[in-house]
């Protein structure tokens, strides 16, 4: 993939992430302040298809955005070989994606009996 593509993907994913992060933070603050129990939270997250959609998108976009940024930092600030960095951040992207999707699955119905 060319640098220009990676640059575009990082900027575009940032544009998508910005509102998602805001909603995410507001929901966290609301949920922790309103005294909801874990069961009550899970009941809400499993009751609508919008939650898996919202957090599924969040995870995919974050898994694109974060590794590209990490790659830039590693390339600029460390003497690590470039191919090594590319390989490492590709693995990092897959780990982020897998862990994130697993978490979304767990709180939106998949992991709840």
């Amino acid at each position: 993939m060319t640098e220009a593509r990676l640059f575009a993907l990082q900027r575009l994913s940032a544009m998508v992430l910005a509102p998602l992060v805001l909603v995410h933070v507001v929901v966290i603050i609301y949920a922790t302040r309103s005294g909801l129990s874990a069961d009550a939270l899970l009941e809400r997250t499993t009751s609508s298809f919008l939650w898996p959609l919202f957090y599924g998108l969040f995870v995919v976009v974050a898994a694109i955005h974060a590794p590209i940024g990490l790659r830039n930092v590693l390339r600029e600030w460390t003497p690590l070989p470039r191919r090594g960095v590319d390989g490492a951040v590709a693995v990092f992207a897959l780990v982020l994606l897998a862990l994130g999707l697993r978490a979304v699955w767990a709180v939106t119905g998949g992991g709840v009996p």
Partner: protein, 245 residues
């Protein structure tokens, strides 16, 4: 800034001598009412240190060869009045940073010019001398955008001012990207695709951190920061297949 009394006062000038493992040497030169930093360097070379190496040509801000680091900042020495930059009657003059030193105040600018080409700065014409001249509308948006960056004379002041250039050898720097941006907006340029690809490759516009030192230090008031932002925008629109033109 210090008030200097004409012809009665002296300036204390510290000048870098040698290459990387050199040292500062101090000279005393007469302070004059109208005196540029280049005048001071020439005075030192003529009356104190005949072997002093430095570079200049036009003396009027056209050729771009006399830039040096004056009291910590890169400047054209020919257009910098001593009165504006002297601190308590003292000047410290060093070679430009981020370029290999040759001797004293002269640096090797080869990388700087090579990077200019690496960023796609070579103009490709589309017509020959036998074709009619291609008209360009001076009022068009692209032409006005190109004009905003066209007065660059490659003095390397922005390159020396840029912190990213200082720590990232691979970065082509503000002057090269500003040049690429003027070509990307030049309808006579025959290889805008190639220029965009070169300017957005590794070490290109994506390496810029938008710190703005180039814009702040440019002696002709160009904003390479804006030009680089333009390339980034064009690159994004190109990715979305809408080319920004």
């Amino acid at each position: 800034m210090t008030e200097i009394k004409p012809e009665t006062d002296t300036l204390e000038v510290r000048i870098w001598r040698g290459r990387d493992d050199g040292r500062f040497e101090t000279y005393e030169v007469p302070a004059r009412e109208n005196q540029t930093v280049l005048d001071v360097v020439s005075e030192v070379q003529r009356h104190h240190e005949p072997a002093l190496a430095y570079r200049f040509s036009c003396r009027v801000g056209v050729c771009g060869s006399c830039a040096m680091t004056v009291n910590g900042r890169p400047r054209w020495t020919c257009r910098t009045h001593v009165q504006k930059v002297a601190r308590e009657g003292a000047l410290t003059i060093e070679p430009l940073r981020s370029m290999p030193r040759i001797k004293d105040l002269a640096t090797d600018m080869s990388d700087f010019f090579d990077k200019w080409h690496r960023a796609g700065g070579r103009f490709e014409g589309t017509r020959t001398r036998h074709d009619p001249i291609q008209p360009v509308d001076p009022e068009s948006r692209a032409r006005k955008t190109a004009n905003a960056g066209i007065e660059c004379i490659n003095c390397a002041v922005c390159y020396a001012a840029c912190d990213v250039v200082a720590w990232d050898d691979d970065y082509v720097g503000p002057a090269a990207l500003n040049r690429a941006w003027t070509l990307l907006n030049d309808e006579k340029h025959g290889d805008r695709r190639g220029t965009l690809d070169a300017a957005t490759a590794a070490g290109g516009c994506g390496s810029c951190h938008t710190q703005g030192s180039c814009m702040k230090s440019c002696p002709v008031g160009i904003s390479p920061t804006r030009s680089i932002a333009g390339i980034k925008r064009m690159s994004l629109l190109d990715f979305l297949n809408m080319r920004g033109q």
